[in-house]
Protein backbone atom coordinates (compact mmCIF):
# COMPACT_ATOMS: atom_id res chain seq x y z
CA UNK A 1 0.00 0.00 0.00
CA UNK A 2 1.37 3.39 -0.93
CA UNK A 3 1.46 5.46 2.19
CA UNK A 4 0.49 9.06 1.55
CA UNK A 5 -0.50 12.02 3.63
CA UNK A 6 -4.26 11.93 3.56
CA UNK A 7 -4.77 14.46 6.32
CA UNK A 8 -2.50 17.32 5.45
CA UNK A 9 -2.20 19.64 8.45
CA UNK A 10 -1.91 22.91 6.57
CA UNK A 11 -5.19 22.92 4.65
CA UNK A 12 -7.53 23.53 7.62
CA UNK A 13 -5.24 26.24 8.93
CA UNK A 14 -5.30 28.06 5.59
CA UNK A 15 -9.08 28.24 5.88
CA UNK A 16 -9.67 28.56 9.60
CA UNK A 17 -7.03 31.18 10.44
CA UNK A 18 -8.46 33.80 8.04
CA UNK A 19 -11.95 33.07 9.32
CA UNK A 20 -11.02 33.41 12.99
CA UNK A 21 -9.01 36.55 12.25
CA UNK A 22 -12.01 38.00 10.47
CA UNK A 23 -14.25 37.26 13.43
CA UNK A 24 -11.83 38.80 15.95
CA UNK A 25 -11.09 41.84 13.82
CA UNK A 26 -14.76 42.43 13.17
CA UNK A 27 -15.56 42.22 16.86
CA UNK A 28 -12.66 44.37 18.08
CA UNK A 29 -13.45 46.92 15.40
CA UNK A 30 -10.88 49.46 16.51
CA UNK A 31 -8.48 48.26 19.10
CA UNK A 32 -5.61 45.92 18.35
CA UNK A 33 -6.70 45.38 14.76
CA UNK A 34 -3.34 46.15 13.27
CA UNK A 35 -1.12 43.66 15.14
CA UNK A 36 -3.65 40.84 14.94
CA UNK A 37 -4.39 41.30 11.26
CA UNK A 38 -0.77 41.71 10.20
CA UNK A 39 0.56 38.82 12.26
CA UNK A 40 -2.20 36.56 11.03
CA UNK A 41 -1.48 37.53 7.42
CA UNK A 42 2.20 36.73 7.99
CA UNK A 43 1.29 33.35 9.50
CA UNK A 44 -0.87 32.54 6.47
CA UNK A 45 1.97 33.51 4.14
CA UNK A 46 4.41 31.27 6.02
CA UNK A 47 1.99 28.33 6.00
CA UNK A 48 1.40 28.73 2.31
CA UNK A 49 5.15 28.61 1.68
CA UNK A 50 6.15 25.70 3.86
CA UNK A 51 3.15 23.45 3.40
CA UNK A 52 3.77 20.02 1.85
CA UNK A 53 1.45 18.60 -0.78
CA UNK A 54 -1.44 16.32 -0.02
CA UNK A 55 -5.12 15.85 0.69
CA UNK A 56 -7.37 16.69 3.55
CA UNK A 57 -10.73 15.13 4.21
CA UNK A 58 -12.67 17.46 6.42
CA UNK A 59 -14.73 15.73 9.11
CA UNK A 60 -12.51 12.69 8.74
CA UNK A 61 -14.88 10.29 7.05
CA UNK A 62 -13.21 7.73 4.81
CA UNK A 63 -14.03 6.74 1.28
CA UNK A 64 -16.20 3.72 0.57
CA UNK A 65 -14.81 1.24 -1.90
CA UNK A 66 -17.95 0.15 -3.75
CA UNK A 67 -16.62 -3.20 -4.94
CA UNK A 68 -15.26 -4.61 -1.72
CA UNK A 69 -17.53 -2.56 0.57
CA UNK A 70 -14.52 -1.54 2.62
CA UNK A 71 -13.58 1.88 3.89
CA UNK A 72 -10.27 3.53 3.19
CA UNK A 73 -8.48 6.66 4.27
CA UNK A 74 -6.04 6.44 1.38
CA UNK A 75 -6.74 8.96 -1.38
CA UNK A 76 -4.90 6.87 -3.95
CA UNK A 77 -7.48 4.11 -3.73
CA UNK A 78 -10.61 5.07 -5.58
CA UNK A 79 -13.70 5.31 -3.45
CA UNK A 80 -16.90 7.21 -2.90
CA UNK A 81 -15.79 10.01 -0.62
CA UNK A 82 -18.14 10.45 2.31
CA UNK A 83 -16.63 13.75 3.33
CA UNK A 84 -15.35 16.88 1.74
CA UNK A 85 -12.03 16.65 -0.10
CA UNK A 86 -9.48 19.43 -0.41
CA UNK A 87 -6.27 19.20 -2.42
CA UNK A 88 -3.10 21.16 -1.86
CA UNK A 89 -0.89 20.59 -4.86
CA UNK A 90 1.66 22.62 -6.84
CA UNK A 91 -1.03 24.76 -8.49
CA UNK A 92 -2.58 25.57 -5.13
CA UNK A 93 0.88 26.24 -3.73
CA UNK A 94 1.80 28.95 -6.21
CA UNK A 95 -1.66 30.51 -6.37
CA UNK A 96 -2.20 30.67 -2.63
CA UNK A 97 1.34 31.94 -2.08
CA UNK A 98 0.79 34.88 -4.40
CA UNK A 99 -2.63 35.75 -3.09
CA UNK A 100 -1.44 35.60 0.51
CA UNK A 101 1.43 37.92 -0.41
CA UNK A 102 -1.10 40.34 -1.83
CA UNK A 103 -3.29 39.85 1.25
CA UNK A 104 -0.38 40.90 3.48
CA UNK A 105 0.23 44.15 1.58
CA UNK A 106 -3.49 44.77 1.31
CA UNK A 107 -3.99 44.47 5.05
CA UNK A 108 -1.03 46.68 5.92
CA UNK A 109 -2.04 49.33 3.40
CA UNK A 110 -5.61 49.40 4.62
CA UNK A 111 -4.51 49.79 8.25
CA UNK A 112 -2.29 52.71 7.21
CA UNK A 113 -4.34 54.50 4.62
CA UNK A 114 -7.93 54.24 5.73
CA UNK A 115 -9.91 56.13 8.30
CA UNK A 116 -10.67 54.38 11.56
CA UNK A 117 -13.36 51.73 12.06
CA UNK A 118 -11.65 49.50 9.53
CA UNK A 119 -12.58 46.29 11.34
CA UNK A 120 -15.35 45.05 9.02
CA UNK A 121 -13.34 45.99 5.94
CA UNK A 122 -10.28 44.03 7.02
CA UNK A 123 -12.52 41.14 8.04
CA UNK A 124 -13.88 41.11 4.52
CA UNK A 125 -10.36 41.09 3.07
CA UNK A 126 -9.51 38.00 5.13
CA UNK A 127 -12.75 36.27 4.22
CA UNK A 128 -12.10 37.05 0.56
CA UNK A 129 -8.75 35.35 0.81
CA UNK A 130 -10.44 32.41 2.54
CA UNK A 131 -13.02 32.01 -0.20
CA UNK A 132 -10.44 32.17 -2.96
CA UNK A 133 -8.24 29.64 -1.17
CA UNK A 134 -11.25 27.32 -0.86
CA UNK A 135 -12.18 27.72 -4.52
CA UNK A 136 -8.72 26.75 -5.69
CA UNK A 137 -8.32 23.84 -3.24
CA UNK A 138 -11.75 22.25 -3.30
CA UNK A 139 -12.58 19.10 -5.23
CA UNK A 140 -16.30 19.12 -4.60
CA UNK A 141 -19.05 20.83 -6.56
CA UNK A 142 -21.25 21.51 -3.55
CA UNK A 143 -18.50 23.22 -1.65
CA UNK A 144 -17.39 25.08 -4.75
CA UNK A 145 -20.86 26.56 -4.99
CA UNK A 146 -20.82 27.71 -1.36
CA UNK A 147 -17.35 29.21 -1.76
CA UNK A 148 -18.31 31.06 -4.94
CA UNK A 149 -21.42 32.40 -3.22
CA UNK A 150 -19.61 33.62 -0.12
CA UNK A 151 -16.95 35.12 -2.38
CA UNK A 152 -19.52 37.06 -4.35
CA UNK A 153 -21.16 38.44 -1.21
CA UNK A 154 -17.75 39.54 0.06
CA UNK A 155 -16.93 41.22 -3.24
CA UNK A 156 -20.19 43.15 -2.91
CA UNK A 157 -19.14 44.19 0.59
CA UNK A 158 -15.65 45.31 -0.44
CA UNK A 159 -17.05 47.27 -3.35
CA UNK A 160 -19.58 49.00 -1.11
CA UNK A 161 -17.11 49.71 1.68
CA UNK A 162 -16.32 53.28 0.71
CA UNK A 163 -19.95 54.32 1.05
CA UNK A 164 -19.98 56.51 -2.05
CA UNK A 165 -22.81 56.38 -4.54
CA UNK A 166 -20.58 54.93 -7.27
CA UNK A 167 -19.52 52.07 -5.06
CA UNK A 168 -23.06 51.39 -3.88
CA UNK A 169 -24.28 51.25 -7.43
CA UNK A 170 -21.45 48.97 -8.50
CA UNK A 171 -22.13 46.71 -5.53
CA UNK A 172 -25.85 46.51 -6.23
CA UNK A 173 -25.36 45.67 -9.89
CA UNK A 174 -22.80 43.03 -9.09
CA UNK A 175 -24.95 41.67 -6.27
CA UNK A 176 -27.99 41.28 -8.51
CA UNK A 177 -25.93 39.50 -11.08
CA UNK A 178 -24.20 37.25 -8.60
CA UNK A 179 -27.64 36.27 -7.34
CA UNK A 180 -28.50 34.95 -10.81
CA UNK A 181 -25.21 33.22 -11.39
CA UNK A 182 -25.20 31.68 -7.92
CA UNK A 183 -28.63 30.20 -8.58
CA UNK A 184 -27.30 29.01 -11.91
CA UNK A 185 -24.41 27.25 -10.24
CA UNK A 186 -26.89 25.62 -7.87
CA UNK A 187 -28.94 24.36 -10.83
CA UNK A 188 -25.79 23.02 -12.41
CA UNK A 189 -24.85 21.27 -9.16
CA UNK A 190 -28.36 19.81 -8.92
CA UNK A 191 -28.19 18.46 -12.46
CA UNK A 192 -24.76 16.86 -12.00
CA UNK A 193 -25.91 15.44 -8.68
CA UNK A 194 -29.05 14.02 -10.22
CA UNK A 195 -27.11 12.54 -13.11
CA UNK A 196 -24.23 10.97 -11.23
CA UNK A 197 -25.23 10.98 -7.59
CA UNK A 198 -21.92 12.49 -6.53
CA UNK A 199 -20.81 15.99 -5.82
CA UNK A 200 -17.17 15.06 -5.47
CA UNK A 201 -15.73 15.97 -8.83
CA UNK A 202 -13.39 12.98 -9.15
CA UNK A 203 -16.21 10.60 -8.24
CA UNK A 204 -18.58 12.26 -10.70
CA UNK A 205 -16.02 12.06 -13.50
CA UNK A 206 -15.32 8.44 -12.63
CA UNK A 207 -19.04 7.69 -12.79
CA UNK A 208 -19.39 9.40 -16.17
CA UNK A 209 -16.38 7.48 -17.49
CA UNK A 210 -17.68 4.18 -16.20
CA UNK A 211 -21.28 4.34 -17.29
CA UNK A 212 -21.13 6.82 -20.14
CA UNK A 213 -23.81 9.43 -20.66
CA UNK A 214 -25.66 8.25 -23.73
CA UNK A 215 -29.00 9.99 -24.02
CA UNK A 216 -28.50 11.86 -20.77
CA UNK A 217 -26.04 14.21 -22.47
CA UNK A 218 -28.77 16.87 -22.54
CA UNK A 219 -28.57 17.09 -18.77
CA UNK A 220 -24.83 17.57 -18.92
CA UNK A 221 -25.17 20.24 -21.59
CA UNK A 222 -27.60 22.29 -19.53
CA UNK A 223 -25.36 21.86 -16.49
CA UNK A 224 -22.50 23.17 -18.62
CA UNK A 225 -24.58 26.14 -19.71
CA UNK A 226 -25.31 27.15 -16.12
CA UNK A 227 -21.70 26.51 -15.19
CA UNK A 228 -20.55 28.91 -17.90
CA UNK A 229 -22.85 31.50 -16.38
CA UNK A 230 -20.97 31.34 -13.11
CA UNK A 231 -17.65 31.27 -14.94
CA UNK A 232 -18.56 34.45 -16.78
CA UNK A 233 -19.53 36.04 -13.52
CA UNK A 234 -16.41 34.88 -11.68
CA UNK A 235 -13.98 36.40 -14.13
CA UNK A 236 -16.16 39.13 -15.57
CA UNK A 237 -16.10 37.52 -19.01
CA UNK A 238 -17.78 39.07 -22.00
CA UNK A 239 -21.31 40.14 -21.25
CA UNK A 240 -20.64 40.89 -17.60
CA UNK A 241 -17.46 42.92 -18.04
CA UNK A 242 -19.12 46.30 -17.40
CA UNK A 243 -20.25 45.20 -13.96
CA UNK A 244 -17.02 43.48 -12.96
CA UNK A 245 -14.87 46.37 -14.14
CA UNK A 246 -17.11 48.76 -12.26
CA UNK A 247 -16.47 46.75 -9.10
CA UNK A 248 -12.73 46.87 -9.77
CA UNK A 249 -12.86 50.57 -10.39
CA UNK A 250 -15.11 51.42 -7.47
CA UNK A 251 -13.19 49.63 -4.71
CA UNK A 252 -9.91 50.89 -3.33
CA UNK A 253 -6.91 49.90 -5.47
CA UNK A 254 -5.39 47.66 -2.80
CA UNK A 255 -8.76 45.92 -2.48
CA UNK A 256 -8.89 45.58 -6.24
CA UNK A 257 -5.52 43.83 -6.16
CA UNK A 258 -7.00 41.14 -3.94
CA UNK A 259 -10.25 41.07 -5.92
CA UNK A 260 -8.48 40.48 -9.20
CA UNK A 261 -6.33 37.78 -7.64
CA UNK A 262 -9.48 36.06 -6.39
CA UNK A 263 -11.15 36.37 -9.75
CA UNK A 264 -8.14 34.83 -11.54
CA UNK A 265 -8.09 32.00 -9.02
CA UNK A 266 -11.78 31.37 -9.61
CA UNK A 267 -11.30 31.47 -13.37
CA UNK A 268 -8.52 28.90 -13.21
CA UNK A 269 -10.29 26.66 -10.70
CA UNK A 270 -13.72 26.70 -12.36
CA UNK A 271 -12.15 26.48 -15.82
CA UNK A 272 -10.19 23.37 -14.92
CA UNK A 273 -13.28 21.81 -13.35
CA UNK A 274 -15.26 22.55 -16.51
CA UNK A 275 -12.54 21.03 -18.63
CA UNK A 276 -12.52 17.90 -16.50
CA UNK A 277 -16.28 17.47 -16.17
CA UNK A 278 -17.53 18.56 -19.57
CA UNK A 279 -14.40 18.27 -21.69
CA UNK A 280 -15.66 15.22 -23.53
CA UNK A 281 -18.73 17.01 -24.89
CA UNK A 282 -18.39 18.63 -28.30
CA UNK A 283 -18.65 22.42 -28.54
CA UNK A 284 -17.54 22.94 -24.96
CA UNK A 285 -14.07 24.18 -25.81
CA UNK A 286 -15.39 26.26 -28.68
CA UNK A 287 -17.76 28.08 -26.34
CA UNK A 288 -14.93 28.75 -23.91
CA UNK A 289 -12.64 30.08 -26.67
CA UNK A 290 -15.43 32.23 -28.08
CA UNK A 291 -16.12 33.82 -24.71
CA UNK A 292 -12.43 34.53 -24.11
CA UNK A 293 -11.83 36.10 -27.52
CA UNK A 294 -14.82 38.40 -27.12
CA UNK A 295 -13.66 39.33 -23.62
CA UNK A 296 -10.13 40.06 -24.79
CA UNK A 297 -11.16 42.45 -27.51
CA UNK A 298 -14.10 44.19 -25.87
CA UNK A 299 -12.11 44.65 -22.66
CA UNK A 300 -9.18 46.26 -24.36
CA UNK A 301 -11.32 48.48 -26.58
CA UNK A 302 -13.28 49.68 -23.58
CA UNK A 303 -9.97 50.36 -21.82
CA UNK A 304 -8.88 52.54 -24.70
CA UNK A 305 -11.81 54.91 -24.38
CA UNK A 306 -11.71 55.33 -20.61
CA UNK A 307 -10.43 58.55 -19.13
CA UNK A 308 -9.91 57.46 -15.54
CA UNK A 309 -6.73 55.54 -14.76
CA UNK A 310 -8.55 53.26 -12.33
CA UNK A 311 -11.09 52.33 -14.94
CA UNK A 312 -8.38 51.80 -17.58
CA UNK A 313 -6.76 49.26 -15.29
CA UNK A 314 -10.12 47.74 -14.43
CA UNK A 315 -10.94 47.05 -18.06
CA UNK A 316 -7.42 45.79 -18.74
CA UNK A 317 -7.81 43.25 -15.93
CA UNK A 318 -10.97 42.03 -17.64
CA UNK A 319 -9.25 41.93 -20.99
CA UNK A 320 -6.32 39.94 -19.64
CA UNK A 321 -8.71 37.51 -17.96
CA UNK A 322 -9.51 36.60 -21.54
CA UNK A 323 -5.94 35.32 -21.98
CA UNK A 324 -6.36 33.02 -19.00
CA UNK A 325 -9.67 31.61 -20.19
CA UNK A 326 -8.35 31.30 -23.73
CA UNK A 327 -5.52 29.11 -22.53
CA UNK A 328 -7.87 26.94 -20.52
CA UNK A 329 -10.38 26.82 -23.34
CA UNK A 330 -7.79 25.54 -25.81
CA UNK A 331 -7.53 22.48 -23.61
CA UNK A 332 -4.12 21.41 -24.91
CA UNK A 333 -1.04 21.07 -22.76
CA UNK A 334 0.56 24.28 -24.01
CA UNK A 335 -2.72 26.11 -23.77
CA UNK A 336 -3.34 25.11 -20.18
CA UNK A 337 0.23 25.89 -19.16
CA UNK A 338 -0.01 29.27 -20.87
CA UNK A 339 -3.37 30.05 -19.34
CA UNK A 340 -2.42 29.24 -15.78
CA UNK A 341 0.97 30.91 -16.14
CA UNK A 342 -0.77 33.96 -17.54
CA UNK A 343 -3.05 34.00 -14.48
CA UNK A 344 0.00 34.10 -12.20
CA UNK A 345 1.73 36.80 -14.25
CA UNK A 346 -1.42 38.79 -14.57
CA UNK A 347 -1.93 38.89 -10.83
CA UNK A 348 1.64 40.14 -10.40
CA UNK A 349 1.78 42.93 -12.97
CA UNK A 350 -1.74 44.13 -12.32
CA UNK A 351 -0.79 44.38 -8.65
CA UNK A 352 2.13 46.65 -9.60
CA UNK A 353 -0.20 48.92 -11.54
CA UNK A 354 -2.84 48.89 -8.81
CA UNK A 355 -0.35 49.72 -6.07
CA UNK A 356 0.87 52.64 -8.19
CA UNK A 357 -2.75 53.68 -8.55
CA UNK A 358 -3.06 53.47 -4.78
CA UNK A 359 -0.13 55.88 -4.56
CA UNK A 360 -2.12 58.40 -6.58
CA UNK A 361 -4.57 58.51 -3.68
CA UNK A 362 -1.83 59.96 -1.52
CA UNK A 363 -1.45 62.79 -4.03
CA UNK A 364 -5.01 63.90 -3.60
CA UNK A 365 -6.98 60.98 -4.99
CA UNK A 366 -7.34 62.26 -8.51
CA UNK A 367 -6.98 59.42 -10.97
CA UNK A 368 -8.90 60.91 -13.86
CA UNK A 369 -6.80 62.05 -16.80
CA UNK A 370 -8.74 65.29 -16.75
CA UNK A 371 -7.74 66.20 -13.22
CA UNK A 372 -4.36 64.73 -12.34
CA UNK A 373 -1.19 66.34 -13.63
CA UNK A 374 2.51 66.09 -13.32
CA UNK A 375 2.80 63.42 -10.67
CA UNK A 376 6.20 62.41 -12.09
CA UNK A 377 7.77 65.56 -10.74
CA UNK A 378 6.40 64.87 -7.29
CA UNK A 379 7.35 61.22 -7.25
CA UNK A 380 9.66 59.92 -9.98
CA UNK A 381 9.61 56.51 -8.35
CA UNK A 382 5.88 55.97 -8.85
CA UNK A 383 6.09 57.17 -12.43
CA UNK A 384 8.92 54.75 -13.19
CA UNK A 385 7.14 51.91 -11.48
CA UNK A 386 3.94 52.55 -13.43
CA UNK A 387 5.83 52.57 -16.70
CA UNK A 388 7.57 49.33 -15.75
CA UNK A 389 4.19 47.84 -14.85
CA UNK A 390 2.79 48.96 -18.20
CA UNK A 391 5.73 47.35 -19.98
CA UNK A 392 5.20 44.14 -18.05
CA UNK A 393 1.47 44.18 -18.81
CA UNK A 394 2.04 44.58 -22.52
CA UNK A 395 4.36 41.60 -22.71
CA UNK A 396 7.72 43.17 -23.45
CA UNK A 397 10.62 40.76 -22.92
CA UNK A 398 12.47 41.30 -19.68
CA UNK A 399 9.19 41.08 -17.76
CA UNK A 400 6.92 38.19 -16.99
CA UNK A 401 4.00 39.01 -19.29
CA UNK A 402 6.12 38.07 -22.27
CA UNK A 403 6.78 34.51 -21.16
CA UNK A 404 3.17 33.46 -20.79
CA UNK A 405 1.97 35.28 -23.87
CA UNK A 406 4.57 33.56 -26.03
CA UNK A 407 3.42 30.19 -24.70
CA UNK A 408 -0.18 31.11 -25.48
CA UNK A 409 0.72 32.25 -28.98
CA UNK A 410 2.60 29.00 -29.61
CA UNK A 411 -0.35 27.03 -28.31
CA UNK A 412 -2.71 28.83 -30.67
CA UNK A 413 -0.40 28.29 -33.64
CA UNK A 414 -0.09 24.62 -32.78
CA UNK A 415 -3.87 24.29 -32.66
CA UNK A 416 -4.08 25.85 -36.12
CA UNK A 417 -5.62 29.11 -34.97
CA UNK A 418 -3.19 31.83 -36.15
CA UNK A 419 -5.94 34.46 -35.95
CA UNK A 420 -6.09 34.12 -32.21
CA UNK A 421 -2.32 34.48 -32.03
CA UNK A 422 -2.63 37.73 -33.95
CA UNK A 423 -5.39 38.84 -31.59
CA UNK A 424 -3.19 38.15 -28.57
CA UNK A 425 -0.43 40.28 -30.07
CA UNK A 426 -2.86 43.07 -30.85
CA UNK A 427 -4.33 43.01 -27.38
CA UNK A 428 -0.86 43.32 -25.86
CA UNK A 429 0.01 46.26 -28.05
CA UNK A 430 -3.30 47.95 -27.37
CA UNK A 431 -2.79 47.40 -23.66
CA UNK A 432 0.37 49.45 -23.95
CA UNK A 433 -1.41 52.20 -25.86
CA UNK A 434 -4.26 52.36 -23.38
CA UNK A 435 -1.93 52.49 -20.40
CA UNK A 436 0.37 55.02 -22.02
CA UNK A 437 -2.53 57.40 -22.62
CA UNK A 438 -3.24 57.44 -18.91
CA UNK A 439 0.41 57.51 -17.87
CA UNK A 440 1.30 60.41 -20.14
CA UNK A 441 -1.63 62.43 -19.00
CA UNK A 442 -1.27 61.79 -15.30
CA UNK A 443 2.46 61.60 -14.79
CA UNK A 444 4.13 63.56 -17.54
CA UNK A 445 1.81 66.32 -18.65
CA UNK A 446 2.85 69.66 -17.13
CA UNK A 447 0.24 71.45 -15.05
CA UNK A 448 -1.99 73.86 -16.90
CA UNK A 449 -2.36 76.14 -13.92
CA UNK A 450 0.61 77.41 -11.99
CA UNK A 451 -1.03 77.42 -8.57
CA UNK A 452 -0.51 73.75 -7.96
CA UNK A 453 0.56 72.91 -4.45
CA UNK A 454 4.06 71.56 -4.35
CA UNK A 455 3.84 70.17 -0.87
CA UNK A 456 5.78 67.00 -0.26
CA UNK A 457 3.79 63.85 0.07
CA UNK A 458 5.10 60.99 2.15
CA UNK A 459 4.22 57.71 0.60
CA UNK A 460 4.01 54.84 3.09
CA UNK A 461 7.16 52.75 3.01
CA UNK A 462 5.10 49.58 2.73
CA UNK A 463 3.65 50.75 -0.54
CA UNK A 464 7.10 51.37 -1.99
CA UNK A 465 8.40 48.05 -0.68
CA UNK A 466 5.37 46.29 -2.13
CA UNK A 467 5.85 47.82 -5.55
CA UNK A 468 9.55 46.94 -5.52
CA UNK A 469 8.85 43.34 -4.47
CA UNK A 470 6.31 42.80 -7.21
CA UNK A 471 8.55 44.41 -9.85
CA UNK A 472 11.40 42.12 -8.77
CA UNK A 473 9.06 39.12 -8.92
CA UNK A 474 7.99 40.17 -12.37
CA UNK A 475 11.56 40.46 -13.63
CA UNK A 476 12.66 37.19 -12.03
CA UNK A 477 9.75 35.29 -13.55
CA UNK A 478 10.43 37.01 -16.84
CA UNK A 479 14.02 35.83 -16.88
CA UNK A 480 13.59 32.41 -15.28
CA UNK A 481 10.03 31.33 -16.07
CA UNK A 482 10.88 27.85 -14.83
CA UNK A 483 10.44 28.88 -11.21
CA UNK A 484 6.72 29.14 -11.85
CA UNK A 485 6.42 26.64 -14.66
CA UNK A 486 7.73 23.82 -12.54
CA UNK A 487 4.65 24.23 -10.36
CA UNK A 488 2.25 24.37 -13.27
CA UNK A 489 3.46 21.65 -15.66
CA UNK A 490 2.81 18.62 -13.38
CA UNK A 491 -0.69 19.89 -12.62
CA UNK A 492 -1.49 20.31 -16.29
CA UNK A 493 -0.23 16.82 -17.05
CA UNK A 494 -2.41 15.45 -14.28
CA UNK A 495 -5.49 17.32 -15.48
CA UNK A 496 -5.04 16.13 -19.05
CA UNK A 497 -4.35 12.56 -18.06
CA UNK A 498 -7.79 12.09 -16.50
Amino acid sequence: MIESISNLWSIPLLVIIPMLTAIIVNFLYDKAIKPIAISSAIIILIISIISPYGYHWFCGHPALNPETLTFTFNPNIFGYKLSLEFIFGPLQHIMIFISSLILLFCVILSTIGLTKHQGPYIALLFLLFMSSAIVIMVNDLYHLWIAVEIGSLIVVGIAAASGTSISHKAALKYGLFSAISGAGLAVSLALVLGLTGFSNISDAIMYLKQFGIGEMSTVLYIAFGFFVLSWMYAGGLAPIHPLKSEVYGASYPHGTALLQAQSKLMLVAIGIIMLRLFGMLPFVKEVMIFLSVITMMIGVIMALIQIDFRWIIAYLIISHSGFVTLGIGLGTQEGLIGGIFQAVNDIIYMTILLLCCEALFYFGGKTSTKEAYDIAKKSPFIATATILGAIAASGIPPFNGFQSEIILIQACLKEGLPEIAVLILMVSVTTFIALLRGIYRIFLKPPELQDQDNSNVDLPKVLIIGIIIFIILSIIIGIYPDIVLRFIIPVVKEVLSI
Partner: protein, 124 residues
Protein backbone atom coordinates in the same frame (compact mmCIF):
# COMPACT_ATOMS: atom_id res chain seq x y z
CA UNK B 1 -50.01 9.20 -9.27
CA UNK B 2 -46.88 7.40 -10.22
CA UNK B 3 -43.47 8.50 -9.17
CA UNK B 4 -42.61 9.84 -12.57
CA UNK B 5 -45.48 12.26 -12.88
CA UNK B 6 -45.06 13.75 -9.41
CA UNK B 7 -41.39 14.29 -9.94
CA UNK B 8 -41.93 15.64 -13.42
CA UNK B 9 -44.54 18.08 -12.15
CA UNK B 10 -42.07 19.28 -9.55
CA UNK B 11 -39.40 19.71 -12.18
CA UNK B 12 -41.71 21.61 -14.52
CA UNK B 13 -42.80 23.95 -11.75
CA UNK B 14 -39.18 24.48 -10.76
CA UNK B 15 -38.11 25.24 -14.32
CA UNK B 16 -40.97 27.70 -14.73
CA UNK B 17 -40.09 29.41 -11.44
CA UNK B 18 -36.44 29.67 -12.47
CA UNK B 19 -37.23 31.17 -15.85
CA UNK B 20 -39.92 33.48 -14.45
CA UNK B 21 -37.42 34.70 -11.87
CA UNK B 22 -34.81 35.30 -14.54
CA UNK B 23 -37.32 37.06 -16.76
CA UNK B 24 -38.54 39.14 -13.85
CA UNK B 25 -35.04 40.33 -13.11
CA UNK B 26 -34.65 41.17 -16.77
CA UNK B 27 -37.97 42.82 -17.54
CA UNK B 28 -39.03 44.50 -14.31
CA UNK B 29 -37.57 47.91 -13.67
CA UNK B 30 -38.34 48.39 -10.00
CA UNK B 31 -35.40 47.30 -7.87
CA UNK B 32 -37.57 45.78 -5.16
CA UNK B 33 -39.40 43.81 -7.83
CA UNK B 34 -36.06 42.63 -9.14
CA UNK B 35 -35.21 41.35 -5.68
CA UNK B 36 -38.59 39.62 -5.44
CA UNK B 37 -37.87 38.02 -8.80
CA UNK B 38 -34.59 36.79 -7.36
CA UNK B 39 -36.42 35.13 -4.48
CA UNK B 40 -38.61 33.39 -7.07
CA UNK B 41 -35.48 32.19 -8.83
CA UNK B 42 -34.00 30.96 -5.59
CA UNK B 43 -37.23 29.18 -4.67
CA UNK B 44 -37.24 27.56 -8.06
CA UNK B 45 -33.82 26.13 -7.34
CA UNK B 46 -35.13 24.90 -3.98
CA UNK B 47 -38.04 23.18 -5.64
CA UNK B 48 -35.71 21.62 -8.18
CA UNK B 49 -33.59 20.20 -5.37
CA UNK B 50 -36.61 18.96 -3.44
CA UNK B 51 -37.98 17.25 -6.52
CA UNK B 52 -34.55 15.72 -7.08
CA UNK B 53 -34.64 14.25 -3.59
CA UNK B 54 -38.07 12.72 -4.20
CA UNK B 55 -38.58 8.99 -3.89
CA UNK B 56 -41.70 6.95 -4.35
CA UNK B 57 -43.19 6.32 -0.93
CA UNK B 58 -40.35 8.25 0.59
CA UNK B 59 -40.09 9.08 4.26
CA UNK B 60 -38.45 11.84 6.26
CA UNK B 61 -34.82 10.93 6.96
CA UNK B 62 -35.32 10.55 10.70
CA UNK B 63 -34.79 7.13 12.26
CA UNK B 64 -37.83 6.38 14.37
CA UNK B 65 -37.94 3.52 16.90
CA UNK B 66 -38.89 0.22 15.35
CA UNK B 67 -37.63 0.94 11.86
CA UNK B 68 -35.25 -1.35 10.11
CA UNK B 69 -32.08 0.06 8.63
CA UNK B 70 -32.59 -1.69 5.31
CA UNK B 71 -36.10 -0.30 5.02
CA UNK B 72 -34.88 3.16 5.98
CA UNK B 73 -32.10 3.11 3.41
CA UNK B 74 -34.40 2.14 0.59
CA UNK B 75 -37.21 4.50 1.53
CA UNK B 76 -35.71 7.64 3.01
CA UNK B 77 -35.47 10.55 0.60
CA UNK B 78 -32.14 11.30 -1.03
CA UNK B 79 -30.34 13.21 1.63
CA UNK B 80 -27.80 15.10 -0.45
CA UNK B 81 -30.21 17.22 -2.51
CA UNK B 82 -32.42 17.69 0.54
CA UNK B 83 -29.49 19.03 2.52
CA UNK B 84 -28.47 21.42 -0.22
CA UNK B 85 -31.87 23.11 0.11
CA UNK B 86 -30.81 24.34 3.56
CA UNK B 87 -27.71 25.93 2.09
CA UNK B 88 -29.70 27.56 -0.68
CA UNK B 89 -32.14 29.04 1.83
CA UNK B 90 -29.28 30.52 3.86
CA UNK B 91 -27.63 31.96 0.77
CA UNK B 92 -30.95 33.38 -0.37
CA UNK B 93 -31.46 35.10 2.98
CA UNK B 94 -27.99 36.66 2.99
CA UNK B 95 -28.14 37.82 -0.61
CA UNK B 96 -31.58 39.32 -0.16
CA UNK B 97 -30.50 41.16 2.98
CA UNK B 98 -27.48 42.68 1.28
CA UNK B 99 -29.41 43.68 -1.83
CA UNK B 100 -32.17 45.26 0.25
CA UNK B 101 -29.62 47.19 2.30
CA UNK B 102 -28.04 48.55 -0.88
CA UNK B 103 -31.43 49.48 -2.29
CA UNK B 104 -32.31 51.30 0.94
CA UNK B 105 -29.14 53.38 0.74
CA UNK B 106 -29.58 54.17 -2.95
CA UNK B 107 -33.19 55.11 -2.35
CA UNK B 108 -32.07 57.57 0.33
CA UNK B 109 -29.72 59.18 -2.17
CA UNK B 110 -31.84 59.21 -5.33
CA UNK B 111 -35.40 59.05 -4.08
CA UNK B 112 -36.46 56.50 -6.66
CA UNK B 113 -36.45 52.75 -7.13
CA UNK B 114 -36.20 52.66 -10.90
CA UNK B 115 -33.24 50.67 -12.12
CA UNK B 116 -33.23 52.59 -15.39
CA UNK B 117 -32.72 55.81 -13.41
CA UNK B 118 -30.39 54.74 -10.62
CA UNK B 119 -28.37 52.14 -12.46
CA UNK B 120 -28.27 53.65 -15.91
CA UNK B 121 -25.04 53.57 -17.85
CA UNK B 122 -22.75 56.52 -17.40
CA UNK B 123 -19.35 57.67 -18.54
CA UNK B 124 -16.65 58.28 -16.01
Amino acid sequence: MTEVTIQLLGFIAAAILIVVGMGGMLFLDNLIKKIIAFTLLSDGVNLLLVALAYREGGIVPILLPGMSIYDFTSRAILIFPAGIVLTNIVIGVSTTAILVALVIMLYRRYGTLKASVILKGERR
